[in-house]
Protein backbone atom coordinates (compact mmCIF):
# COMPACT_ATOMS: atom_id res chain seq x y z
CA UNK A 1 0.00 0.00 0.00
CA UNK A 2 1.62 3.29 -1.06
CA UNK A 3 0.76 6.87 -0.28
CA UNK A 4 -1.15 8.48 -3.08
CA UNK A 5 -1.34 12.04 -1.84
CA UNK A 6 0.28 14.91 -3.72
CA UNK A 7 3.35 16.43 -2.12
CA UNK A 8 2.77 20.11 -1.29
CA UNK A 9 4.03 22.52 -3.92
CA UNK A 10 6.57 25.10 -2.83
CA UNK A 11 4.18 27.93 -3.47
CA UNK A 12 1.51 26.31 -1.33
CA UNK A 13 2.52 26.47 2.32
CA UNK A 14 -0.91 25.50 3.61
CA UNK A 15 -0.46 22.29 5.52
CA UNK A 16 -3.18 19.67 5.44
CA UNK A 17 -3.04 18.01 8.81
CA UNK A 18 -4.97 15.03 10.12
CA UNK A 19 -4.87 14.52 13.88
CA UNK A 20 -5.89 11.08 15.13
CA UNK A 21 -7.61 10.93 18.52
CA UNK A 22 -9.04 8.15 20.64
CA UNK A 23 -11.75 8.11 23.25
CA UNK A 24 -10.53 6.19 26.30
CA UNK A 25 -11.89 5.41 29.75
CA UNK A 26 -11.17 8.13 32.27
CA UNK A 27 -7.92 7.29 34.08
CA UNK A 28 -9.69 7.52 37.41
CA UNK A 29 -12.41 5.04 36.51
CA UNK A 30 -12.08 1.34 37.20
CA UNK A 31 -11.39 -0.49 33.98
CA UNK A 32 -12.66 -4.03 33.40
CA UNK A 33 -12.47 -6.65 30.68
CA UNK A 34 -15.76 -7.97 29.31
CA UNK A 35 -15.81 -11.70 30.15
CA UNK A 36 -17.52 -12.57 26.84
CA UNK A 37 -15.21 -10.76 24.41
CA UNK A 38 -12.17 -10.36 26.67
CA UNK A 39 -11.88 -6.78 25.46
CA UNK A 40 -12.17 -3.54 27.39
CA UNK A 41 -15.71 -2.95 28.59
CA UNK A 42 -16.07 0.58 27.17
CA UNK A 43 -19.78 0.90 27.94
CA UNK A 44 -19.34 0.76 31.71
CA UNK A 45 -16.90 3.66 32.03
CA UNK A 46 -16.86 7.38 31.30
CA UNK A 47 -15.07 8.22 28.07
CA UNK A 48 -12.70 11.13 27.63
CA UNK A 49 -10.25 12.20 24.95
CA UNK A 50 -6.98 10.31 25.46
CA UNK A 51 -4.85 12.80 27.35
CA UNK A 52 -1.84 12.57 25.06
CA UNK A 53 -4.07 13.27 22.06
CA UNK A 54 -4.79 16.74 23.46
CA UNK A 55 -1.12 17.53 22.84
CA UNK A 56 -1.48 16.15 19.31
CA UNK A 57 -4.49 18.38 18.61
CA UNK A 58 -2.68 21.41 20.00
CA UNK A 59 0.42 20.71 17.88
CA UNK A 60 -1.74 20.27 14.78
CA UNK A 61 -3.53 23.57 15.46
CA UNK A 62 -0.23 25.41 16.01
CA UNK A 63 1.24 24.14 12.75
CA UNK A 64 -1.98 24.92 10.88
CA UNK A 65 -2.08 28.45 12.30
CA UNK A 66 1.52 29.09 11.25
CA UNK A 67 0.97 27.81 7.73
CA UNK A 68 -2.65 28.88 7.14
CA UNK A 69 -3.38 25.19 7.03
CA UNK A 70 -6.33 23.06 7.97
CA UNK A 71 -6.84 20.39 10.60
CA UNK A 72 -9.08 17.37 10.26
CA UNK A 73 -9.66 15.28 13.36
CA UNK A 74 -10.03 11.54 12.84
CA UNK A 75 -11.29 9.03 15.36
CA UNK A 76 -12.14 5.37 15.17
CA UNK A 77 -14.47 4.04 17.80
CA UNK A 78 -18.07 3.53 18.86
CA UNK A 79 -20.86 6.12 18.62
CA UNK A 80 -19.79 8.02 21.73
CA UNK A 81 -16.42 8.83 20.14
CA UNK A 82 -18.22 11.78 18.56
CA UNK A 83 -17.78 13.51 21.94
CA UNK A 84 -14.02 13.34 21.51
CA UNK A 85 -14.24 14.52 17.90
CA UNK A 86 -16.41 17.46 19.04
CA UNK A 87 -13.86 18.34 21.69
CA UNK A 88 -11.10 18.58 19.07
CA UNK A 89 -13.41 20.65 16.86
CA UNK A 90 -14.17 22.97 19.77
CA UNK A 91 -10.41 23.39 20.32
CA UNK A 92 -10.26 24.61 16.72
CA UNK A 93 -10.02 21.71 14.28
CA UNK A 94 -11.88 22.38 11.05
CA UNK A 95 -13.61 19.10 10.26
CA UNK A 96 -13.99 15.55 11.54
CA UNK A 97 -13.89 12.00 10.25
CA UNK A 98 -15.47 9.28 12.36
CA UNK A 99 -14.60 5.71 11.42
CA UNK A 100 -17.70 4.06 12.81
CA UNK A 101 -18.74 0.48 12.19
CA UNK A 102 -19.80 -2.37 14.46
CA UNK A 103 -17.45 -4.57 12.43
CA UNK A 104 -14.52 -2.65 13.98
CA UNK A 105 -15.30 -3.57 17.59
CA UNK A 106 -12.44 -5.48 19.19
CA UNK A 107 -9.90 -4.52 16.51
CA UNK A 108 -6.29 -5.00 17.62
CA UNK A 109 -3.48 -2.58 16.78
CA UNK A 110 -2.78 -4.30 13.44
CA UNK A 111 -6.42 -3.92 12.34
CA UNK A 112 -6.73 -0.40 13.77
CA UNK A 113 -3.70 0.75 11.79
CA UNK A 114 -5.19 -0.84 8.67
CA UNK A 115 -8.50 0.98 9.05
CA UNK A 116 -6.83 4.35 9.73
CA UNK A 117 -4.42 3.92 6.81
CA UNK A 118 -7.22 2.95 4.41
CA UNK A 119 -9.30 5.96 5.40
CA UNK A 120 -6.29 8.31 5.05
CA UNK A 121 -5.27 6.99 1.65
CA UNK A 122 -5.88 9.48 -1.11
CA UNK A 123 -6.81 12.33 1.23
CA UNK A 124 -3.47 14.03 0.65
CA UNK A 125 -2.58 14.87 4.25
CA UNK A 126 0.87 16.41 4.68
CA UNK A 127 1.07 15.48 8.35
CA UNK A 128 -0.73 12.82 10.36
CA UNK A 129 -0.32 13.50 14.06
CA UNK A 130 -0.98 11.13 16.97
CA UNK A 131 -0.46 11.20 20.73
CA UNK A 132 2.42 8.88 21.58
CA UNK A 133 0.24 6.39 23.44
CA UNK A 134 -3.31 5.78 24.58
CA UNK A 135 -3.82 5.58 28.31
CA UNK A 136 -5.91 2.40 27.98
CA UNK A 137 -3.96 0.02 25.74
CA UNK A 138 -0.59 1.76 26.16
CA UNK A 139 1.01 -0.11 23.26
CA UNK A 140 2.35 2.96 21.39
CA UNK A 141 2.52 1.05 18.11
CA UNK A 142 -0.30 2.40 15.93
CA UNK A 143 1.58 5.50 14.65
CA UNK A 144 4.56 3.36 13.53
CA UNK A 145 2.19 0.86 11.93
CA UNK A 146 0.30 3.60 10.05
CA UNK A 147 3.64 5.01 8.79
CA UNK A 148 4.58 1.51 7.65
CA UNK A 149 1.27 0.99 5.85
CA UNK A 150 1.30 4.39 4.12
CA UNK A 151 4.99 4.15 3.26
CA UNK A 152 5.75 7.57 4.73
CA UNK A 153 8.30 8.88 7.23
CA UNK A 154 7.89 7.89 10.86
CA UNK A 155 8.60 10.83 13.18
CA UNK A 156 7.43 9.49 16.52
CA UNK A 157 7.94 10.38 20.20
CA UNK A 158 8.50 14.01 19.30
CA UNK A 159 8.89 16.66 21.95
CA UNK A 160 9.64 19.31 19.34
CA UNK A 161 8.23 19.65 15.82
CA UNK A 162 9.25 22.11 13.11
CA UNK A 163 6.99 21.99 10.08
CA UNK A 164 7.33 25.32 8.27
CA UNK A 165 5.17 24.27 5.33
CA UNK A 166 7.96 23.96 2.74
CA UNK A 167 7.72 20.18 2.57
CA UNK A 168 10.30 19.60 5.30
CA UNK A 169 9.67 18.35 8.83
CA UNK A 170 12.16 18.15 11.66
CA UNK A 171 11.53 16.71 15.10
CA UNK A 172 13.34 15.89 18.31
CA UNK A 173 12.66 12.23 19.02
CA UNK A 174 13.01 11.34 22.70
CA UNK A 175 15.45 8.52 23.45
CA UNK A 176 16.91 6.90 26.56
CA UNK A 177 20.01 9.08 26.31
CA UNK A 178 18.39 12.36 25.32
CA UNK A 179 17.00 12.91 21.85
CA UNK A 180 17.63 12.35 18.16
CA UNK A 181 17.18 15.13 15.65
CA UNK A 182 15.24 13.57 12.79
CA UNK A 183 14.47 15.06 9.38
CA UNK A 184 12.05 14.01 6.69
CA UNK A 185 9.92 15.30 3.86
CA UNK A 186 6.15 15.42 4.02
CA UNK A 187 3.97 13.45 4.07
CA UNK A 188 4.93 12.13 7.47
CA UNK A 189 3.41 10.49 10.52
CA UNK A 190 4.22 12.24 13.79
CA UNK A 191 3.52 11.20 17.36
CA UNK A 192 3.96 13.72 20.16
CA UNK A 193 4.78 13.22 23.82
CA UNK A 194 3.34 14.90 26.86
CA UNK A 195 4.57 18.44 27.55
CA UNK A 196 5.40 19.27 23.93
CA UNK A 197 2.97 22.15 24.32
CA UNK A 198 0.20 23.47 26.52
CA UNK A 199 -3.12 22.25 25.07
CA UNK A 200 -5.70 25.02 24.83
CA UNK A 201 -9.09 24.77 26.47
CA UNK A 202 -12.11 25.00 24.19
CA UNK A 203 -13.59 28.49 24.36
CA UNK A 204 -17.35 29.05 24.54
CA UNK A 205 -17.18 30.40 21.00
CA UNK A 206 -15.22 27.31 19.96
CA UNK A 207 -17.80 25.01 21.51
CA UNK A 208 -20.62 26.76 19.68
CA UNK A 209 -18.71 26.79 16.38
CA UNK A 210 -17.90 23.07 16.72
CA UNK A 211 -21.59 22.23 16.47
CA UNK A 212 -21.68 23.49 12.90
CA UNK A 213 -18.47 21.87 11.72
CA UNK A 214 -18.76 18.91 9.33
CA UNK A 215 -18.13 15.38 10.61
CA UNK A 216 -17.98 12.70 7.96
CA UNK A 217 -18.88 9.18 9.05
CA UNK A 218 -16.94 6.45 7.27
CA UNK A 219 -17.92 2.79 7.43
CA UNK A 220 -15.73 -0.19 6.76
CA UNK A 221 -17.34 -0.55 3.34
CA UNK A 222 -16.86 3.17 2.55
CA UNK A 223 -13.16 2.83 3.23
CA UNK A 224 -12.82 -0.27 1.07
CA UNK A 225 -11.82 -2.45 3.98
CA UNK A 226 -12.61 -6.15 3.95
CA UNK A 227 -14.89 -6.60 6.99
CA UNK A 228 -13.02 -9.84 7.72
CA UNK A 229 -9.76 -7.89 8.10
CA UNK A 230 -10.88 -5.93 11.15
CA UNK A 231 -12.70 -6.45 14.43
CA UNK A 232 -12.31 -9.01 17.15
CA UNK A 233 -12.58 -12.01 14.80
CA UNK A 234 -9.65 -10.74 12.75
CA UNK A 235 -7.38 -10.03 15.68
CA UNK A 236 -4.02 -11.71 15.17
CA UNK A 237 -3.52 -12.14 18.84
CA UNK A 238 -6.12 -13.27 21.30
CA UNK A 239 -6.61 -13.15 25.02
CA UNK A 240 -6.64 -16.71 26.33
CA UNK A 241 -7.65 -15.81 29.84
CA UNK A 242 -7.52 -13.00 32.36
CA UNK A 243 -7.86 -12.56 36.07
CA UNK A 244 -7.61 -9.89 38.69
CA UNK A 245 -4.02 -9.57 39.82
CA UNK A 246 -3.51 -11.36 43.12
CA UNK A 247 -3.59 -8.74 45.87
CA UNK A 248 -0.17 -7.92 47.25
CA UNK A 249 0.39 -9.59 50.57
CA UNK A 250 -0.16 -7.05 53.30
CA UNK A 251 3.14 -5.51 54.26
CA UNK A 252 4.48 -4.12 57.49
CA UNK A 253 3.87 -0.45 58.16
CA UNK A 254 5.49 1.22 61.17
CA UNK A 255 5.46 4.77 62.46
CA UNK A 256 8.80 6.53 62.63
CA UNK A 257 9.98 6.89 66.19
CA UNK A 258 13.36 8.28 65.31
CA UNK A 259 14.66 5.00 63.92
CA UNK A 260 12.55 4.68 60.74
CA UNK A 261 15.60 4.79 58.47
CA UNK A 262 17.39 2.11 60.48
CA UNK A 263 14.29 -0.09 60.36
CA UNK A 264 14.11 0.15 56.57
CA UNK A 265 17.82 -0.70 56.42
CA UNK A 266 17.10 -3.77 58.57
CA UNK A 267 14.33 -4.79 56.17
CA UNK A 268 16.54 -4.24 53.11
CA UNK A 269 19.28 -6.34 54.76
CA UNK A 270 16.82 -9.16 55.44
CA UNK A 271 15.73 -9.02 51.80
CA UNK A 272 19.41 -9.02 50.75
CA UNK A 273 19.27 -5.66 48.97
CA UNK A 274 22.19 -4.45 51.11
Amino acid sequence: MRWRGNPPKEVDRRMKIVVCVKQVPDTWSEKKLDPATKTLDRASVDGVMNELDEYAVEEALKIAEATSGEVTVLSMGPEQSTETIRKALSMGADAGIHILDDALAGSDAVATSLAIAKVLEGRGADLIIFGSESTDARMSVVPAMVAERLGVAQLTFANNVEAPGDGSVKIHRLTDYGYDVVEASTPAVISVVEKINEPRYPSFKGIMAAKKKPVETVSVADAGIEPAAVGLGAAWSEVAEFAAAPPRAAGTVVTDEGDGGVKIADYLSEQKFI
Binding site: T27, K31, K32, A109, V110, T135, R138, M139, S140, V141, V142, P143, A144, M145, A147, E148, G151, V152, A153, Q154, T156, F157, H172, D176, Y177, G178, Y179, D180, V181, V182, E183, A184, A188, E194, K195, W236, S237, V239, E241, F242, A243, A244, A245, R248, G251, T252, V253, V254, T255, D256, G258, G260, G261, V262, I264, A265, Y267, Q271, F273, I274
Partner: protein, 317 residues
Protein backbone atom coordinates in the same frame (compact mmCIF):
# COMPACT_ATOMS: atom_id res chain seq x y z
CA UNK B 1 14.81 -27.03 17.75
CA UNK B 2 12.78 -24.03 16.68
CA UNK B 3 14.73 -20.84 16.21
CA UNK B 4 13.81 -17.79 18.31
CA UNK B 5 15.07 -14.42 17.08
CA UNK B 6 16.11 -11.95 19.78
CA UNK B 7 16.83 -8.35 18.76
CA UNK B 8 19.82 -7.16 20.77
CA UNK B 9 19.59 -3.93 22.74
CA UNK B 10 23.05 -2.43 23.15
CA UNK B 11 25.11 0.74 23.26
CA UNK B 12 28.19 0.46 21.00
CA UNK B 13 28.37 -3.28 21.66
CA UNK B 14 27.79 -3.09 25.38
CA UNK B 15 24.80 -5.46 25.68
CA UNK B 16 21.97 -4.35 27.95
CA UNK B 17 20.89 -6.65 30.74
CA UNK B 18 17.39 -6.90 29.30
CA UNK B 19 18.79 -8.66 26.21
CA UNK B 20 20.36 -11.29 28.47
CA UNK B 21 16.93 -11.70 30.07
CA UNK B 22 15.38 -12.17 26.61
CA UNK B 23 18.00 -14.78 25.66
CA UNK B 24 17.27 -16.58 28.92
CA UNK B 25 13.52 -16.56 28.17
CA UNK B 26 14.14 -17.61 24.57
CA UNK B 27 16.00 -20.74 25.65
CA UNK B 28 12.78 -22.06 27.19
CA UNK B 29 10.99 -21.55 23.85
CA UNK B 30 13.58 -22.89 21.41
CA UNK B 31 17.08 -22.07 20.23
CA UNK B 32 17.92 -18.37 20.52
CA UNK B 33 19.56 -16.45 17.70
CA UNK B 34 20.69 -12.91 18.44
CA UNK B 35 20.11 -10.19 15.86
CA UNK B 36 22.70 -7.46 16.24
CA UNK B 37 22.31 -4.09 14.51
CA UNK B 38 24.96 -1.35 14.44
CA UNK B 39 28.59 -1.22 15.53
CA UNK B 40 30.37 -3.07 18.33
CA UNK B 41 29.77 -6.75 17.59
CA UNK B 42 33.35 -7.62 18.61
CA UNK B 43 32.51 -6.37 22.10
CA UNK B 44 29.09 -8.02 22.20
CA UNK B 45 29.71 -11.43 20.62
CA UNK B 46 31.19 -13.19 23.64
CA UNK B 47 28.39 -12.01 25.95
CA UNK B 48 25.67 -13.07 23.51
CA UNK B 49 27.24 -16.53 23.14
CA UNK B 50 27.65 -16.85 26.90
CA UNK B 51 23.92 -16.29 27.39
CA UNK B 52 22.87 -18.86 24.82
CA UNK B 53 22.87 -17.33 21.33
CA UNK B 54 23.49 -20.22 18.94
CA UNK B 55 23.67 -17.81 16.01
CA UNK B 56 24.39 -14.12 15.81
CA UNK B 57 23.10 -12.28 12.76
CA UNK B 58 25.00 -9.04 12.32
CA UNK B 59 23.84 -6.04 10.30
CA UNK B 60 26.42 -3.32 10.89
CA UNK B 61 25.99 -1.16 7.78
CA UNK B 62 25.74 2.52 8.79
CA UNK B 63 22.33 3.01 7.17
CA UNK B 64 20.83 0.47 9.58
CA UNK B 65 21.05 3.05 12.37
CA UNK B 66 20.93 6.27 10.34
CA UNK B 67 17.14 6.12 10.03
CA UNK B 68 14.29 5.80 12.52
CA UNK B 69 13.07 2.27 13.36
CA UNK B 70 12.13 1.09 9.85
CA UNK B 71 15.52 -0.42 8.82
CA UNK B 72 15.47 -2.74 11.83
CA UNK B 73 11.94 -3.85 10.96
CA UNK B 74 13.04 -4.58 7.37
CA UNK B 75 16.03 -6.59 8.60
CA UNK B 76 13.87 -8.66 10.92
CA UNK B 77 11.24 -9.18 8.20
CA UNK B 78 13.98 -10.53 5.93
CA UNK B 79 15.24 -12.86 8.68
CA UNK B 80 11.69 -14.03 9.43
CA UNK B 81 11.24 -14.91 5.75
CA UNK B 82 14.62 -16.73 5.55
CA UNK B 83 14.68 -18.52 8.89
CA UNK B 84 10.99 -19.05 9.67
CA UNK B 85 11.59 -18.61 13.40
CA UNK B 86 9.04 -19.75 15.97
CA UNK B 87 8.95 -16.26 17.48
CA UNK B 88 10.67 -12.88 17.53
CA UNK B 89 11.44 -11.29 20.90
CA UNK B 90 12.23 -7.61 21.39
CA UNK B 91 12.66 -5.30 24.36
CA UNK B 92 9.53 -3.46 25.44
CA UNK B 93 11.02 0.00 24.97
CA UNK B 94 9.44 2.73 22.87
CA UNK B 95 11.67 1.76 19.96
CA UNK B 96 11.38 -2.01 20.50
CA UNK B 97 7.60 -1.78 20.39
CA UNK B 98 7.67 0.34 17.23
CA UNK B 99 9.98 -2.14 15.49
CA UNK B 100 7.62 -4.92 16.58
CA UNK B 101 4.61 -3.03 15.24
CA UNK B 102 6.14 -2.45 11.82
CA UNK B 103 7.40 -6.04 11.69
CA UNK B 104 3.88 -7.29 12.44
CA UNK B 105 2.46 -5.32 9.52
CA UNK B 106 5.26 -6.47 7.21
CA UNK B 107 4.94 -10.15 8.07
CA UNK B 108 1.16 -10.31 8.61
CA UNK B 109 1.73 -11.40 12.17
CA UNK B 110 0.15 -10.72 15.51
CA UNK B 111 2.06 -8.68 18.06
CA UNK B 112 1.96 -8.64 21.86
CA UNK B 113 3.70 -5.86 23.75
CA UNK B 114 4.74 -5.40 27.38
CA UNK B 115 4.87 -9.09 28.25
CA UNK B 116 6.20 -9.89 31.71
CA UNK B 117 6.52 -13.60 31.00
CA UNK B 118 6.27 -16.15 28.17
CA UNK B 119 5.43 -19.83 28.61
CA UNK B 120 6.90 -22.64 26.52
CA UNK B 121 3.79 -22.69 24.30
CA UNK B 122 4.29 -18.96 23.57
CA UNK B 123 1.49 -17.70 25.77
CA UNK B 124 2.52 -14.24 26.95
CA UNK B 125 1.55 -12.79 30.31
CA UNK B 126 0.77 -9.09 30.55
CA UNK B 127 -0.11 -6.92 33.49
CA UNK B 128 -2.69 -4.32 32.41
CA UNK B 129 -4.88 -1.52 33.79
CA UNK B 130 -2.16 -0.34 36.13
CA UNK B 131 -1.36 -3.83 37.35
CA UNK B 132 -4.92 -4.65 38.41
CA UNK B 133 -5.47 -7.38 35.81
CA UNK B 134 -3.26 -10.20 34.57
CA UNK B 135 -3.86 -11.31 30.99
CA UNK B 136 -2.58 -14.35 29.10
CA UNK B 137 -2.44 -13.81 25.33
CA UNK B 138 -1.32 -15.75 22.31
CA UNK B 139 -0.50 -14.72 18.77
CA UNK B 140 -2.79 -16.64 16.44
CA UNK B 141 -1.59 -15.47 13.03
CA UNK B 142 1.86 -15.40 11.48
CA UNK B 143 5.06 -15.38 13.51
CA UNK B 144 4.51 -14.42 17.15
CA UNK B 145 6.18 -11.05 17.78
CA UNK B 146 6.47 -10.33 21.48
CA UNK B 147 8.06 -7.42 23.32
CA UNK B 148 9.14 -8.16 26.87
CA UNK B 149 9.58 -5.71 29.74
CA UNK B 150 12.93 -5.44 31.50
CA UNK B 151 13.29 -7.37 34.77
CA UNK B 152 10.82 -10.07 33.66
CA UNK B 153 13.31 -12.82 34.46
CA UNK B 154 16.79 -13.21 35.93
CA UNK B 155 19.50 -13.61 33.28
CA UNK B 156 21.29 -16.97 33.43
CA UNK B 157 24.37 -17.87 31.44
CA UNK B 158 24.23 -21.02 29.23
CA UNK B 159 27.08 -20.91 26.73
CA UNK B 160 26.30 -21.61 23.07
CA UNK B 161 28.15 -21.40 19.78
CA UNK B 162 27.39 -17.77 18.89
CA UNK B 163 28.13 -18.44 15.23
CA UNK B 164 28.35 -15.14 13.41
CA UNK B 165 26.65 -14.49 10.08
CA UNK B 166 26.75 -11.09 8.41
CA UNK B 167 23.45 -9.97 6.96
CA UNK B 168 22.85 -7.19 4.49
CA UNK B 169 19.53 -5.61 3.66
CA UNK B 170 18.70 -3.40 0.72
CA UNK B 171 16.52 -0.83 2.39
CA UNK B 172 13.36 0.46 0.74
CA UNK B 173 12.72 4.17 0.18
CA UNK B 174 10.21 4.02 3.02
CA UNK B 175 12.83 2.74 5.44
CA UNK B 176 15.08 5.72 4.68
CA UNK B 177 12.35 8.36 4.89
CA UNK B 178 13.18 9.62 8.40
CA UNK B 179 16.88 10.41 8.77
CA UNK B 180 18.61 10.83 12.11
CA UNK B 181 20.84 13.88 11.57
CA UNK B 182 22.08 14.28 15.13
CA UNK B 183 22.07 12.39 18.43
CA UNK B 184 22.01 14.57 21.51
CA UNK B 185 23.08 13.00 24.78
CA UNK B 186 21.73 14.67 27.83
CA UNK B 187 23.69 14.49 31.01
CA UNK B 188 22.41 11.69 33.19
CA UNK B 189 25.44 10.89 35.31
CA UNK B 190 26.42 7.41 36.38
CA UNK B 191 22.98 6.17 37.41
CA UNK B 192 21.41 3.17 35.67
CA UNK B 193 18.71 3.61 33.06
CA UNK B 194 15.33 4.02 34.77
CA UNK B 195 13.39 1.26 33.02
CA UNK B 196 16.24 -1.25 33.34
CA UNK B 197 17.37 -0.54 36.89
CA UNK B 198 17.15 -3.28 39.51
CA UNK B 199 16.38 -0.63 42.12
CA UNK B 200 14.44 2.60 41.65
CA UNK B 201 14.20 5.36 44.27
CA UNK B 202 11.41 7.86 43.57
CA UNK B 203 10.23 11.16 44.97
CA UNK B 204 6.85 12.86 44.79
CA UNK B 205 4.94 15.85 46.05
CA UNK B 206 6.26 15.29 49.58
CA UNK B 207 9.78 16.06 48.39
CA UNK B 208 8.66 19.69 48.36
CA UNK B 209 10.96 21.17 45.71
CA UNK B 210 13.94 20.62 43.43
CA UNK B 211 16.44 20.81 46.32
CA UNK B 212 14.53 18.02 48.09
CA UNK B 213 15.53 15.65 45.30
CA UNK B 214 19.13 15.78 46.53
CA UNK B 215 17.97 13.61 49.44
CA UNK B 216 16.37 11.18 46.98
CA UNK B 217 19.47 11.12 44.76
CA UNK B 218 21.79 10.40 47.69
CA UNK B 219 19.67 7.41 48.71
CA UNK B 220 19.58 6.22 45.10
CA UNK B 221 23.37 6.44 44.83
CA UNK B 222 23.87 4.53 48.07
CA UNK B 223 21.83 1.67 46.53
CA UNK B 224 23.19 1.97 42.99
CA UNK B 225 19.62 2.83 41.96
CA UNK B 226 17.94 4.92 39.29
CA UNK B 227 15.94 7.99 40.34
CA UNK B 228 12.27 8.34 39.43
CA UNK B 229 9.63 10.97 40.13
CA UNK B 230 5.88 11.13 40.33
CA UNK B 231 3.91 13.30 37.99
CA UNK B 232 3.25 15.82 40.74
CA UNK B 233 7.02 16.35 41.02
CA UNK B 234 7.72 16.56 37.28
CA UNK B 235 4.70 18.78 36.62
CA UNK B 236 5.98 21.17 39.29
CA UNK B 237 9.34 21.23 37.51
CA UNK B 238 11.24 19.76 40.47
CA UNK B 239 12.72 16.93 38.45
CA UNK B 240 13.11 16.40 34.69
CA UNK B 241 10.10 15.02 32.90
CA UNK B 242 11.92 12.00 31.43
CA UNK B 243 12.16 10.51 34.92
CA UNK B 244 8.40 10.43 35.43
CA UNK B 245 7.12 7.03 36.51
CA UNK B 246 3.48 6.28 35.79
CA UNK B 247 0.84 6.45 33.13
CA UNK B 248 2.10 8.75 30.34
CA UNK B 249 5.58 8.33 31.83
CA UNK B 250 7.86 5.31 32.22
CA UNK B 251 6.72 1.90 33.40
CA UNK B 252 9.22 0.24 35.72
CA UNK B 253 9.28 -3.22 37.23
CA UNK B 254 12.42 -3.31 39.39
CA UNK B 255 13.39 -5.74 42.14
CA UNK B 256 13.03 -2.90 44.65
CA UNK B 257 11.02 0.32 44.40
CA UNK B 258 11.38 2.94 47.14
CA UNK B 259 8.56 5.53 47.03
CA UNK B 260 9.23 8.69 49.02
CA UNK B 261 6.58 11.34 49.54
CA UNK B 262 4.39 9.78 46.86
CA UNK B 263 0.67 9.44 47.63
CA UNK B 264 0.11 6.60 45.17
CA UNK B 265 -2.51 7.95 42.76
CA UNK B 266 -3.58 5.45 40.09
CA UNK B 267 -1.56 7.58 37.64
CA UNK B 268 1.61 6.58 39.48
CA UNK B 269 0.63 3.04 40.40
CA UNK B 270 0.16 2.22 36.71
CA UNK B 271 3.89 2.68 36.26
CA UNK B 272 5.32 0.79 39.25
CA UNK B 273 2.77 -1.66 40.62
CA UNK B 274 4.56 -4.72 39.26
CA UNK B 275 7.76 -3.93 41.18
CA UNK B 276 8.82 -7.02 43.14
CA UNK B 277 9.39 -5.32 46.50
CA UNK B 278 7.98 -1.92 47.42
CA UNK B 279 9.19 0.25 50.28
CA UNK B 280 7.27 3.41 51.19
CA UNK B 281 8.11 6.50 53.19
CA UNK B 282 5.25 8.96 53.62
CA UNK B 283 4.08 11.18 56.45
CA UNK B 284 0.40 10.57 55.66
CA UNK B 285 -0.67 7.20 57.11
CA UNK B 286 -3.76 7.29 54.86
CA UNK B 287 -1.73 7.58 51.62
CA UNK B 288 -2.95 4.85 49.23
CA UNK B 289 0.65 3.93 48.37
CA UNK B 290 0.82 2.08 51.71
CA UNK B 291 -1.60 -0.49 50.24
CA UNK B 292 1.25 -1.59 47.97
CA UNK B 293 3.98 -1.45 50.59
CA UNK B 294 5.92 -4.55 51.58
CA UNK B 295 7.52 -2.31 54.16
CA UNK B 296 6.39 1.19 55.01
CA UNK B 297 7.37 3.91 57.41
CA UNK B 298 4.96 6.68 58.36
CA UNK B 299 7.27 9.60 58.91
CA UNK B 300 9.04 12.65 57.52
CA UNK B 301 11.14 11.63 54.55
CA UNK B 302 13.67 14.37 55.40
CA UNK B 303 14.63 12.51 58.57
CA UNK B 304 13.93 8.90 57.53
CA UNK B 305 15.64 8.96 54.13
CA UNK B 306 18.97 10.54 55.20
CA UNK B 307 19.10 8.13 58.15
CA UNK B 308 18.51 5.22 55.77
CA UNK B 309 21.22 6.52 53.42
CA UNK B 310 23.72 6.76 56.30
CA UNK B 311 22.79 3.32 57.53
CA UNK B 312 23.28 1.76 54.09
CA UNK B 313 26.67 3.48 53.90
CA UNK B 314 27.67 1.99 57.25
CA UNK B 315 26.49 -1.52 56.42
CA UNK B 316 28.13 -1.51 53.02
CA UNK B 317 31.27 -0.34 54.82
Amino acid sequence: MAEILVLVDHVDGSVKKVTLELLTLARALGEPSAVFVGGGIDTAAATLAEYGAANIYVADAPEMTDYVVAPKAELLAQLVAEKAPAAVLLTSTAEGKEIAGRLAVKTNSGVITDAVGISADLVATQSIFGGSTIVSSKVTTGTPIITVRPNSTAPEAAPAAGARTDVSVSLSDTATAAKVVDRVEEEKGARPELTEAAIVVSGGRGVGGPEGFEVIERLADSLGAAVGASRAATDAGWYPHQYQVGQTGKTVSPQLYVANGISGAIQHRAGMQTSKTIVVVNKDPEAPIFELADYGVVGDLFTVVPQLTDEIGKRKG
